[in-house]
Structures are given as structure tokens and as C-alpha cells.
């Protein structure tokens, strides 16, 4: 792709769809408890029914009463759950009040009736059945009460799959059926020269021109100030004693049809970032905007239709496939949760997905252990494709594979990208693969982006000392290009205690050459535009000091045995 996609400065992302906010945990727990009561009622009914069947004395007497209690209770509880999703305070209070009054009244009725009938067995059953849901109901009320402030009166409707831009789940999964709005925009992106200048492009479909779209290409994904912190608990009381700053303020955007890569060493937060972007883990702070949908902190129910559009390929082809499931279930699970309940239709789509990744249709009956590493990774790719996504996070998809298999899978990913108009967020520690595979690259170090730019900019003209060191460290298989390397001191510091100022200053070779300037330790450099090159951003105070000459000199001065760590203790 030779267009200047992604070259525009970060602009405010356009939000054109609003999703419901994620309910607070207290509300979610309260709902879950209410569902427990409903479940209890149904179970109780079943037990009593069994009692009748095997002829326990008195069970038959309890049956109608249990039925009388549980049936309306379950209906009312369902209504409450329904209305807490509607999230108006009045509806919630009303529904909950009705539920409590009704269940108490029914309980009173049953106990009175049992007394009237003077049947000790049914009294026992009635009390047993009513006491447990009552306790749970009190707990649910307490939980819901804590979350009452959340009922802010917003009246957004749940997001329907049809509105999300996702492809229909029962449509055949073929290369032709991919003309979603994003796909059209991606096709348009190939022809525009700058994303900022509106160009009218006509898209030619199979039957001639189908649409004329004004192609101001918006980024498919915008990430702004994204943070993901993990608490560390310790001590007898499991108090929080620290924080892992896994991702600590990251900005980037991905244009439709682009491959954006994140590179960095293990522990730099690239995998966490990938998972947070598609909301597999909720973010701590910051924004993620996907095709106009604000994703951070949204209701999981509204996330569900969007999940069809954003999928992930996991790193470990052995750990990410359940050994107890046949391939049809592994791939079909996502389809099932998206409402494709018809077994035949599901299997057909699973087989389509297998065919798409170059596996035989009949493999869907096999189990993961029957496949080689490369084939397993293909199954992982098929699982991501089965839902017809347009954005895929590929988390180290080839690092667990042998070289000859690695290139097969890379080729497959490239073919699929071309045929299905996919957009990739490609996460890797292998700089050669990234250079070959991607359009733009972000280099991560300790939860932050150190440098970002197109492959050409970054590999030919690196401006962050860390990028320079990474590039210098790649062993080149061509002995003609053998050279002395710039070797960094020590290891990546712990993300639980990142260094002050510039996070790289403890290992920085440039800082050493410049005589350890003060601002590296005190001021955290921001990711700013570098020079005239559009889209090339660097987070270094001294980016101007880097040139071919300084790098060559630094490489030449690397001592033969580099210390394993910076000894500051």
C-alpha cells in the first residue's frame, strides 16, 4: 500500500453512534442475584415434581403452591432485569417494589393456606422455598441500592447487530460477500492521496458502479490516552500494594485497510494493549473509538454485535484451542453466541471458514491434537474469520511456528487481508516480520509508544534511540550484512516501577553519549511530530541528535561484554 494513509495528525475522532455505558458492578451483581432467585424457583419446582414422581408424602400438596410462587416470581424478576437494562430510576424502583411486595404476599398466602390445609409437609416445603429466595433478594436489593446513582435516565436502546455494520451472521462466508461500508472505505483509501482531502470515488461492484461515496476516510480505530493498570495485591489482608502500568497512555489510529504493527520486547504492554483495544479487558482510562463507536466503558450487551467486527488471533496455537472440543465447536462457539443457533447453518459456516484458511472442510470433525502447529494457527485464524470481521488483532500469530510454516501463515494473512478487506493490528516482537508485513509501525517501550511512523520512515530513519537499538539487534541471515551491533545494557525495567522522566533513560546509549542530560530523568518526553515527515512521531528530547554517523560510532564503541544490568544498588 503506497498511499499516505495515516499521515494526518491525530484529530478528534468522529463519534456517530453512541452506546450504552457499562453498568457499575453493583448493578451487574444485583442482576445476577435476581437471576439466581429465578433459577432457584425453577429448581425447586423441579425437585418437588420429582418428589411427586417418586411418591414422597406431602410433595404433591406442595406442588401447586411452589408453582404459584415461582412462576410469577420468575416473571417479575425477569421484568426487573429487563428494566434495570432500561436504566431509568423510576422503572427500576417500581419493578423492584412490585417484585418484593408480590413475593411477600404470595409467601404469606401460601403459609396461611398450608395452615388451613394443616398439612405439615407443605408448610415445610413452602418455608424452605421462600426463605432462600428472600435472603438472596435482600442481597440483591443491597447491591442494586449501591448502584442506584447509575440510573441516569439515559434512554439509549440496545445496539442491534444490523445497526453495527456487522455482516449478517447467516450469510455465506465468501470472498464476494464483503461489501460493508468499511470495506468500501478501505477500497477508497487506496485511491485517495491524503485522508484530509475529500475525494469522490466511485466504487465499481460486480454489476458496474454501485455507489458514489464522498471518501473522507475516517480512521477505523482511534486510540487516545489509553491506559491499562493492573493492581498488585499483597499482605494478609490482600491490600493493594502497587500497580503494574502495563499500558500507560497510548495514542494511535488505524486507517481502514491498513496493517498497523506494534513491536517491543516482552513486558512492554503490546499484548495488553491489543486486548484492551477490543475490550477483552476493560481499560483503566482513555478512549477507544472503533468506526465511530466509543468502546471504552460500554455495556457488554452493546459490545456483542461489535464483536463480530473485531476479532483476535492468539499467539499460542496450542494453548488457545480447547483440546476437548472438535474444530466445529471451537470455531462455531462464536457463531452460537452471536445467535446462529441452527446447527447445520453453523457447521456450513465453520467449513467455509476452514476452506478460507486452506484447510479441508472435513477437518471440522477433528480435535486440535490431530493438527500440526501451523494448521492449529490456521484454525485460530478461521475462528477469527468465522464471524466476518473487518478488524483483526493478530497477537504474535507466527512466533510459535517454525520458519517454513511461519511464512505460510504470513502469506495466508496477506491473502485474506487482500480478499476480505481486513484491517490488522499486528503485534510482534520480530522486527523483520513487521517490516515485511505492515504499513505503519508503533514501537512500544514500558507501556508507552516510543516512536511511530510508516515502515519506510521507521526502518530507514529511526529517531528514537530504542528503535535504533532494536534495529541494530536483529541478526541478519545475510553474512554480507554482518556488522557490529549496538547492544543495550541490561533488561527492560519492571512496569510496576517505571523509571522517572523518559522511561528509556536507564538503558539509553544516546543519553550516555550526550553526557547524561538532566531533562531525560526529569521530564517525560511527549510523542511529537518529527521534522517534515508526515505521521512520523517520536518521544525523545534528543531525536535531532541521531544520525547515521552517531549510530555507527555508538555501534563501534559497544564493549565486547555488555553488563547484564545497570547496577544502581
Amino acid at each position: 500500500m503506497t498511499t499516505t494513509i495515516g499521515a494526518a495528525p491525530v484529530a478528534e475522532p468522529e463519534i456517530h453512534h453512541r452506546l450504552r455505558r457499562r453498568p457499575p458492578n453493583s448493578i451487574r451483581n444485583g442482576r445476577a442475584l435476581l437471576m439466581t432467585i429465578a433459577g432457584f424457583g425453577i429448581t425447586a419446582l423441579f425437585i418437588v415434581f420429582l418428589g411427586v414422581l417418586i411418591g414422597i408424602k406431602g410433595a404433591a400438596g406442595a406442588l401447586p403452591m411452589v408453582a404459584v410462587v415461582t412462576a410469577p416470581l420468575a416473571i417479575v424478576l425477569w421484568a426487573i432485569v429487563r428494566y434495570t437494562r432500561a436504566r431509568t430510576k423510576l422503572a427500576f424502583l417500581l419493578a423492584f417494589g412490585i417484585a418484593v411486595v408480590l413475593s411477600l404476599a404470595l409467601g404469606f398466602l401460601i403459609v396461611t393456606m398450608s395452615r388451613l390445609l394443616s398439612d405439615p409437609n407443605s408448610i415445610f416445603f413452602a418455608q424452605l422455598i421462600l426463605s432462600v429466595p428472600f435472603v438472596v433478594a435482600v442481597a440483591a436489593a443491597w447491591q442494586l441500592g449501591r448502584g442506584v446513582a447509575w440510573f441516569d435516565g439515559t434512554k439509549e436502546k440496545p445496539l442491534k447487530a444490523e445497526e453495527s455494520g456487522a455482516r449478517p451472521i447467516n450469510a455465506p462466508l465468501t470472498v464476494a460477500a464483503t461489501a460493508t461500508p468499511t470495506a468500501l472505505a478501505a477500497a477508497a483509501a487506496d485511491t485517495v492521496t491524503s485522508p484530509a482531502s475529500p475525494v469522490v470515488t466511485s466504487i465499481v461492484g460486480a454489476d458496474g458502479p454501485v455507489a458514489t461515496v464522498p471518501a473522507v476516510v475516517q480512521p477505523l480505530l482511534v486510540v487516545q490516552g489509553l491506559k491499562k493498570h493492573f493492581p498488585i495485591y499483597g499482605g494478609v489482608l490482600r491490600k493493594q500494594i502497587g500497580t503494574v502500568y502495563a499500558v500507560d497512555g497510548v495514542d494511535f489510529e488505524i486507517m481502514p485497510g491498513e496493517t498497523f504493527s506494534l513491536v517491543g520486547e516482552s513486558g512492554c504492554g503490546k499484548t495488553t494493549l491489543g486486548r484492551t483495544v477490543i475490550q477483552l479487558t476493560p481499560s483503566t482510562d482513555g478512549r477507544v473509538v472503533f468506526d465511530g463507536y466509543e468502546l471504552a466503558d460500554v455495556d457488554p450487551d452493546d459490545m456483542r454485535p461489535l464483536r463480530r467486527r473485531m476479532q483476535i488471533i492468539f499467539q499460542d496455537p496450542f494453548g488457545s484451542l480447547n483440546p476437548r472440543m472438535p474444530v466445529s465447536d471451537i470455531i462455531g462457539e462464536g457463531l452460537l453466541s452471536q445467535g446462529l443457533n441452527d446447527r447445520k447453518a453453523r457447521d456450513k459456516r465453520v467449513e467455509d471458514a476452514l476452506e478460507l484458511v486452506g484447510l479441508r472442510r472435513e477437518y471440522s470433525r477433528r480435535y486440535p491434537h490431530e493438527f500440526s502447529g501451523g494448521q492449529r494457527q490456521r484454525i485460530g485464524v478461521a475462528r477469527a474469520l468465522a464471524l466476518g470481521p473487518d478488524f483483526i488483532v493478530a497477537d504474535e500469530p507466527v512466533s510459535a511456528l517454525d520458519v517454513s510454516i511461519q511464512s505460510q501463515v504470513l502469506n495466508l494473512l496477506l491473502d485474506l487481508k487482500r480478499d476480505l478487506n481486513l484491517t490488522y493490528l499486528f503485534i510482534s516482537h520480530n522486527l523483520s516480520v513487521v517490516q515485511y508485513f505492515s504499513d505503519r509501525v508503533g514501537v512500544m517501550y514500558l507501556g508507552k509508544i516510543a516512536e511511530i511512523g510508516s515502515v519506510e520512515q521507521l526502518y530507514a530513519n529511526p529517531r528514537h534511540p530504542y528503535t535504533v537499538a532494536l534495529l541494530s539487534a536483529i541478526p541478519d541471515a545475510d553474512p554480507r550484512r554482518r556488522k557490529k551491533r549496538l547492544v543495550l545494557k541490561g533488561d527492560v525495567p519492571s512496569p510496576a516501577a517505571p523509571p522517572s522522566g523518559c522511561r528509556f533513560h536507564t538503558r539509553c546509549w544516546l543519553r550516555e553519549r550526550l553526557g547524561n542530560p538532566e531533562n531525560c530523568v526529569t521530564i517525560e518526553p511527549e510523542l511529537v511530530q518529527f521534522g517534515e515527515e508526515a505521521g512520523h512521531r517520536v518521544a525523545c528530547h534528543w531525536a535531532d541528535e541521531i544520525s547515521q554517523a552517531t549510530v555507527a560510532q555508538a555501534e563501534a564503541e559497544t564493549p565486547a561484554i555488555v553488563a547484564a544490568a545497570v547496577d544502581d544498588e
Binding site: 502469506n411 523483520s432 515485511y436 539487534a473 541471515a477 559497544t558
Partner: protein, 373 residues
């Protein structure tokens, strides 16, 4: 150990004095439930004193088993060393050595660095003690001297404040630091042969660069011979003089690193080098080797690479290829392309390889998604 201590009859002549390791017709197989797995099938190579040799191959090609056989670290059974196999180390045939003498050699004369440093270190002893234990055992020195030696080794491998680090446990060290400890341990008795089995595979790229530079510097300083086992052609290019490429238990190509990596002469090696992503191949498809490594129970009858080979013809399915001479400087390749009558095919294959190296294959035409085994 069931082997006899007497010198086996029918041994060949000892190798020349400047050869440290001479492996001849080595066959190592494993008896398993489903049959016999020929992990290493008739390989021969030699490594001169102070020289470096790389063994390259995919997982399952038999490169680690070769190293373990040289160290005699395989349990017999299930492992089985074929009749006629010989391993000469420093003028001695070591496959027929009694275990006691072998134990003396191991650690003292030959040492091994494993892939995963955490599993090769004992978690309940300090790293200093673990190095000192070996020094005490092999060099017959006092406790004090062995501890000093351990600290000295840690300093040699670039660990700062080695006195303090020597008192730490493996879990207190980072991955790169642990691998340095393992290297220090391997070097503590000044071995003549250092075998490094994927020494940097578990490490990050900047730490890998540190460890490779360290190995290089130490190898130059101590003059030990290095046998480096890896799947990474980049690491091989940086580290060694000569290379052996293994495939399905056999040596398929052999030569000096400069020649072999620039002008590979066996289609498997060509394919491996072509499949490395480089900047020249951007925008094109990588020319991947089709298919997968054959199962050791169902090896192809003649050439083992034949089912995956883009240049195969009838002969390849009928006659098992030998290691033919393939160029200057002792280049060998197990491929019929190097028979005199196949010279036209060879030239075509080499031309195709050079073409693939320049451009990669274009992303045009029908999608090519072969993945069926």
C-alpha cells in the same frame, strides 16, 4: 548404562590432532510405543579445535538429539545408538567410554548451555553455589576457592556486583541474567567444547544481542570450540564459521556460513532462506516451503524433502540422494540436482532461487492457500 568399557572392535582410526569432535555415521533412534523413531540418521561431521559450527533445522529435525548424544545425556533405552556410530572427542572415542570417565569429561571438557535457563538452574540453591559445586567437583579445589571462582565467572559474563548476585536464587534474576549464569557455569571449568542449544530462543531481541556478543567474546577469549544449535539463520550468520543444515534426521547441506547462506545449494535451505521476510520482499508473497515436516514413522522412501520440494522429478522419488559435493571448500548437498546429468535443472533452480530472493512472489492471480498436510 549398559555399554561396555572395552574399546569396541572395528573402530576407525582416530582423527587428526587439530580435530576436537569427529562424529561418524551417528544414528540415534528412540523406541516408542508406535515403533522406532530414527531421530538422527547417519550423520557425520567434524569440528576443529577453537572452531565454530552451527547446526540449523526446524523442530524435530534431530539437532538437539545430536547434541545430547555427543554429551551422552540420553537415557539408553529408550534411546538407542546404532552400530557403527562413532564420536571422537579430543582423540578418544566417547561412545565406548564408561559412565564414570564420561562424567569426568562432561562439565570439565565439554559443557552445554540449554535453551531455557530457568529449567537448567536449580531453584533451591543460590547461583553462586551451583557454579561452585561444579568447580569443586571437577577442579578439586577448596570451598573458598570454588566460591571465588564462581564470583569470577559471574564477573566474566558481565553480571554487575557479582559478589551480591552469587548469593541470589535463580528466581531473583531476569531471563537474560539467568542465561549469563548458565553460560558462566558452562565455562567455569574451561571446557574445550561448548555446546549451545538454542541459547537465545527464549530471550528478547536486545537481550539476545547481549548474549550473542558475550558468547562471541568469550569463545574468542577462551579458545573453546562452539557447537551452536539454532533454528534462526540470523543467529547462525552472526556466530559461526561452518554450518550444517538438518532435515528429518539427516544432514542435507554443509558448508561455510558465508557460502551456504548466500548461495544455498539444496532446495530446503533455499526455501528456508527465501521464507525469511526481508524488505525486498515487501508487497509480495513470501515463497514458503509447502507442506509440513514428514512424520518420522512415514518418511518418504527416497529423498525426505521430495514431497515439499519445488524442483523434484522422478529420480527424487526413486533413489535416495547422497551428500554430493556441491561447490568449492567442501560444500556438500543431499540433492540429486548436484548429479552431473541434472546440471540444467540445477541452473534453473538456482535462477529461480535468486529470483525469489530479489522480489518474493507477487500477490497476483488466484489465492494460494495450501496448508493441507
Amino acid at each position: 548404562m549398559t555399554e561396555t568399557s572395552t574399546v569396541r572392535p572395528g573402530l576407525g582410526a582416530p582423527p587428526a590432532d587439530d580435530i576436537l569432535v569427529d562424529v561418524r555415521n551417528l544414528r540415534t533412534s528412540f523406541k516408542v510405543m508406535d515403533g522406532v523413531v530414527p531421530a538422527v540418521d547417519n550423520i557425520s561431521f567434524s569440528l576443529g579445535k577453537g572452531q565454530t559450527l552451527g547446526i540449523v533445522g526446524e523442530s524435530g529435525s534431530g539437532k538437539s538429539v545430536t547434541a545430547l548424544t555427543i554429551m551422552r545425556l540420553l537415557d539408553i533405552p529408550p534411546a538407542e545408538i546404532g552400530a557403527g556410530s562413532e564420536i571422537w572427542f579430543d582423540g578418544k572415542e566417547i561412545l565406548s567410554l564408561p559412565e564414570g570417565e564420561m562424567r569426568h569429561l562432561r562439565g570439565n571438557e565439554m559443557a552445554m548451555i540449554f535453551q531455557e535457563p530457568l529449567t537448567s538452574l536449580n531453584p533451591v540453591f543460590t547461583v553462586g553455589d551451583q557454579i561452585a559445586e561444579q568447580v569443586k567437583l571437577h577442579m578439586k579445589v577448596s570451598d573458598k576457592e570454588s566460591k571465588d571462582r564462581a564470583v569470577e565467572m559471574l564477573r566474566l559474563v558481565g553480571i554487575p556486583s557479582p559478589e551480591r548476585r552469587a548469593k541470589q536464587y535463580p528466581h531473583e534474576l531476569s531471563g537474560g541474567m539467568r542465561q549469563r549464569v548458565v553460560i558462566g557455569m558452562a565455562l567455569s571449568c574451561e571446557p574445550k567444547l561448548l555446546i549451545a542449544d538454542e541459547p537465545t530462543t527464549a530471550l528478547d531481541v536486545t537481550v539476545q544481542a547481549q548474549i550473542l556478543e558475550l558468547l562471541k567474546a568469550i569463545q574468542e577469549r577462551t579458545g573453546a570450540a562452539l557447537l551452536l544449535i539454532t533454528h534462526d539463520l540470523g543467529v547462525v550468520a552472526e556466530m559461526v564459521d561452518n554450518v550444517i543444515v538438518m532435515y528429518a534426521g539427516q544432514v542435507v547441506e554443509q558448508g561455510s556460513v558465508n557460502e551456504l547462506l548466500i548461495e544455498p545449494r539444496m532446495p530446503y535451505t533455499m526455501g528456508l532462506i527465501e521464507s525469511i521476510p526481508t524488505v525486498e520482499k515487501r508487497g509480495g508473497r513470501l515463497s514458503a516451503i509447502q507442506g509440513v515436516v514428514p512424520s518420522p514413522f512415514h518418511l518418504p522412501p527416497a529423498c525426505r524433502f521430495e514431497p515439499r520440494c519445488p524442483y523434484r522429478w522422478e529420480t527424487c522419488r526413486e533413489v535416495p540422494p547422497e551428500l554430493y559435493p556441491a561447490g568449492e571448500g567442501g560444500r556438500l548437498a543431499r540433492c540429486h540436482l548436484h548429479l552431473a546429468e541434472a546440471s540444467a535443472r540445477r541452473d534453473a533452480a538456482v535462477a529461480q532461487h535468486e529470483q525469489n530472493m530479489r522480489t518474493g512472489r507477487r500477490l497476483t492471480g488466484a489465492p494460494d492457500r495450501t496448508g493441507n498436510a
